[in-house]
Amino acid sequence: MIVRKPLPRWADLILVPFLNLTLAFLISGLVVLIIGENPIEAVKILLFGAFGYGEGLGYTLHFATNFIFAGLAFSIASHAGQFNIGAEGQAYVAGLGAILVALALDQTHWLLVMPLAMIASAAIGGFWGFVPGYLAAKRGSHVVITTIMFNFIASAFMVYMLNRVLKQSDNMAPESATVVNAGRMPQLREWWDYFGYSPLNVMFFVAVAALIAAYILLWRTELGYKIRTMGQNPSAAHYAGISNSAIVMIAMTISGAVAGMIALNEVLGVQNRLVLDFVFGYGFVGIAVGLMGRNHPIGIALAALLFGALYQGGQELAFMMPAVTREMILVIQALVILFTGAMEGLFRRPLEMMFGMLEFSKSEKSDDAPASSKS
């Protein structure tokens, strides 16, 4: 009798994601072959572009900064059992907070602008996450559908704001005024020219701090305990006197607030003004990052770095191999989501069988397995 066994911890945490990821990349390689390029050559270019020199590394880390925020946003909601695919819209509207603070305080000091812009972005992004959370908790709406709708509402709203409210009379393009002084996030290249022209800025450190803060929040505080309880078993949370509705709203608000940090990195770190669609899909990448990183800050850091490298290396690749356009990244992203998310069971079940068989051959003699509870 062969029994499927729960996988050992190392296999669960490393082997399964590794196999899934490998498959995703193998198929990506196949796509590169189909469009007539050499995948191995492509990987070489990609790796060099992402890590080979200072400016490339700077870009990689800059992208990774966005992905850390997006991945954390997805994960924090996920820990509370909520599927927030609205990070894109939450980051987008948060841009308003960032730019308004920066424009107002452009003549002061970045040490003043940064915390205030962070608060403003977090507030607006958090609000954009809170509303779907509220509707889910109090009105029974489906978070997935509501956050999708909120992405589109955000998009229409921002087009309106940029065209009608923030647009400058001397500029045909729908964009806000430009910050020139204190409103700009200090670039790391100002202190360390190793990073070339890359827009890596102080928000990178905020992202690293956010990873640590998320870890502390989720595993070292009462609130985090409540969030995780809610996500794992809402009935048990209810039994434990934890308000399900409050936790959903809090988690969605935190999620939106964290997504809002992307706005600082992009609006005040790169563009220096508010432009259309500055989020550029980074919010959606957060889903892949969160899934791949198993909703754990360490995993998210690694996954964000991987995607940062893909985005930067991908640009280099598009330059060196024009056939491999930027959209290749989308394909890889899709495959990563597919294999580490939706088809997570692809290797899991065979592996469980395999480990079950190993276990079985070890304990063939004793027929009396310990009675285990229903799962």
Binding site: T221, E222, Y225, T229, A236, S373
Partner: protein
């Protein structure tokens, strides 16, 4: 008459001659084995069922009855063993194959689509062709005929969700008969029925038997076995213990076979010494999530130093009452008074409020409520008490403090394996229950509310758990015990209240009440159907003594 039932008639007229079994056998199972993970759910089962009889299968929860029947119905596949239907060996591939063989099953949880009509449910999977209308028309006629033959009246155009539970069960039976079932399996059919509905069901079964159908009745209620079956098979821990003719046995013998050995549930406990009233409910009315009134105005009180046991058949409002008392559910009306103070639940975090008032709660369903099975034992050791400063000051959580607490639980309550890093899912049922009990009892609460403390727990742990509950009483705690196990109530409680259909229908002294008396109360057959207020007075008088 349908084509299928004609086919079945031919089959049952017995052209097939079996090589292994006498032709009058409708079903023969030989050497059936089935595992679920490490659990050996069916061990070498043999079973012979005579055509035209009602054959009972009894056993405790988890004895493997449902698994065996699901194998017969093609829902599960046995690993080894042979199945003969009408003397012919068959390999039942799936449910549709079982249906073709004339086997129908009425599941414990109805397999009906709530927002479909009765007709749609009846024809689902048994439609004659691609268009529905002809099948619907035919089904309407057949149902009318079946209603006349077997007193199975249902409105064919009603939506399932609008029918009573008894009505839904009739639809299940009709489904099976419509498909020409000659052999009907009923899994715990009376668990969800009111007594009058159950009586009606038995009349239907009687008629079916007269018409030559074979009925397999799965139940754990001995009364039903004695009342209706011709033969009875007893299962215990996945094995078939014995098959007997019903007229040659009695409930005592069956009970002994079911349990294996006479388990003496008598707990060593001295007389109770009731003190102040710690928990009181007045005219409590509670609705469930579907807005159905489950608790219909009940009154009782629990004093320090006594165990009040609530007996009753599962589903008579006990669960909703427990949730209301522990703050998980808002009462519709009435009062909940803890230590003299009225408690009003507002938000969805009422459970925290009751915990703050030193009311501990061991829930009925430990896996669904009492534990987060994906959490490690130490995380479960603080569930519900996560805000306590003992486990971290302010907003923070101190993992060392929580682990220390967990280790104390493990030591004092002998939780095995003694590893606080193990996920709750990996503990046995008894040890999972100990994790919950340890957490709730070690807080030294004034009031302990316990639901089904030993459901699915092995004998050794039962004894331990019972002793712990008595120890709480002796330490001067007010204990409210809700259990569907009458033996458990009788051996633990100092006073017994019987709950039926949302009412408390009687109070009994465990020392003097007989099982028969309690059984009658639990069945809703009380001597007097006095209004609730009179009983309340009676209760108060009783407890004032």
């Amino acid at each position: 008459m349908t084509d299928k039932s004609q086919a079945n008639e031919q089959r049952s007229s017995g052209t097939a001659v079996s090589q292994n079994a006498a032709p009058q056998l409708a079903i023969e199972l030989a050497g059936i084995n089935k595992h679920f993970g490490p659990v050996h759910a069916n061990k070498d089962i043999d079973l012979k069922v005579t055509r035209g009889t009602v054959h009972g299968i009894v056993g405790e929860n988890g004895a493997g009855k449902t698994t065996l029947m699901s194998i017969l119905y093609g829902f599960y596949t046995a690993e080894t063993g042979r199945i003969f239907v009408d003397g012919k060996e068959v390999t039942i591939k799936d449910s549709s194959h079982a249906l073709e063989l004339g086997i129908g099953m009425v599941h414990q949880h109805f397999m009906l689509v709530d927002n479909f009509t009765v007709l749609e449910n009846v024809i689902l999977g048994a439609e004659d062709d691609a268009l529905l209308q002809p099948s619907l028309d035919k089904a309407r006629k057949v149902l009318a005929q079946l209603a006349r033959d077997y007193e199975l009246e249902v409105d064919p155009d009603a939506l399932i969700e609008d029918l009573s539970v008894g009505g839904q069960q009739r639809v299940e039976i009709l489904k099976a008969l419509y498909r020409g079932a000659e052999i009907l399996i009923l899994d715990e059919p009376t668990g969800v029925l009111t007594p009058s509905e159950a009586d009606h069901l038995f009349k239907v079964l009687e008629t079916l038997r007269k018409q030559g159908k074979t009925i397999l009745l799965i139940t754990h209620k001995l009364r039903e076995i004695m009342a209706i079956t011709d033969d009875v098979s007893v299962m215990r821990q996945g094995a078939m213990v014995k098959t007997l003719e019903t007229k040659n046995t009695d409930p005592a013998e069956l009970a002994e076979l079911m349990v294996g050995r006479r388990v003496l549930l008598r707990v060593d406990k001295g007389p109770s010494n009731p003190g102040d009233v710690k928990l009181e409910v007045r005219d409590l009315v509670v609705k469930d999530d579907m807005d159905i009134t489950r608790v219909k105005g009940i009154n009782f009180e629990v004093r320090a130093g006594e165990i009040v046991g609530i007996a009753g058949v599962s589903g008579n409002g006990q669960s909703d009452m427990l949730e209301a008392i522990t703050g998980m559910r808002k009462a519709d009306s009435g009062q909940l008074i803890v230590k003299g103070k009225e408690v009003v639940i507002k938000g969805d975090d009422g459970a925290a409020k009751l915990r703050d008032m030193s009311v501990a709660h061991v829930p009925e369903d430990r896996q669904e409520l009492g534990l987060v099975v994906t959490f490690e034992q130490w995380e479960n050791a603080i569930l519900g008490y996560q805000d306590d400063d003992k486990y971290g000051k302010g907003a923070f959580l101190s993992i060392p403090a929580a682990r220390e607490e967990a280790n104390r639980h493990i030591e004092k309550y002998d939780i095995r394996p003694a590893n606080n890093r193990l996920k709750a899912a990996n503990f046995s049922g008894g040890n999972q229950q100990k994790i919950v009990l340890a957490r709730e009892m070690s807080r030294n609460p004034d009031v302990l509310v316990v639901g089904q403390p030993t459901r699915g727990v092995d004998i050794g742990a039962i004894e331990f758990i019972h002793n712990q509950i008595v120890a709480m009483r002796d330490a001067g705690k007010a204990v409210l015990l809700v259990s569907v196990e009458l033996d458990e109530i009788r051996s633990l409680a100092d006073r017994i209240l019987v709950m039926f259909d949302g009412h408390i229908v009687g109070e009994a002294d465990p020392a003097t009440a007989t099982e028969a008396e309690l059984g009658l109360l639990m069945a809703g057959v009380s001597a007097d159907n006095a209004p609730e207020s009179d009983k309340r007075e009676a209760n108060n008088k009783e407890s004032a003594k």
